[in-house]
Symmetry: C2
Subunit: 106 residues, 2 copies
């Protein structure tokens, strides 16, 4: 079922991690019905308190890239940008071999 | 819906990444029905060709820890150990705030 995965960190300015997480949770709702989207998780890591981690699984990198054009996503990006401590780093790209817990038929 | 996440790397000895991945894919089937398991993905990262990445979401750390006692899991661990290049590193622990793609009612 090979799929495209991305595990990345968005660093907020001091104290703004929760605001950034709230925006990313809104984004997860928007992209959840996008073509090829299997997973979009928003997390915190206690070792990086001002950062928010996003873990995504898509049918392909192309589907991921197209998600930036989903209605409303650009507006959320615009809201998030002033909260970021610098440009987002490139996330870890994964080749998902398989496993349990996502809809493999989708 | 806060949940416990774990994103970790298992490094295989040279050339044994695919064998290790096959064992972990078997493990994913065993734990998929364990209490509190929402996600168990097995991946490769082209930057770490002999490593296998496992991304898990559980209701709690306790549920994750209990999964090591699921029938058959210890046998798979025993098969995997000789393939590993050293002891597994501690993975990245995540507090999953929410998102899309996993069963939130489970």
């Amino acid at each position: 079922m090979k799929k495209y995965g991305l595990h990345g960190k968005l660093s907020a300015t001091a104290g703004n991690g929760d605001k950034l997480a709230a925006i990313l949770l809104k984004a997860s709702k928007l992209v959840s019905t996008a073509k090829g989207c299997h997973l979009y998780l928003v997390s915190k890591d206690k070792n990086t308190p001002d950062a928010v981690w996003v873990t995504e699984v898509w049918d392909s990198k192309e589907d991921h890239d197209n998600s930036l054009a989903v209605a409303g996503v650009r507006e959320l990006i615009a809201q998030a940008m002033p909260l970021l401590a610098g440009m987002p780093e490139k996330g870890q790209e994964l080749e998902i071999l398989g496993g349990a817990g996502i809809n493999q038929q989708q």
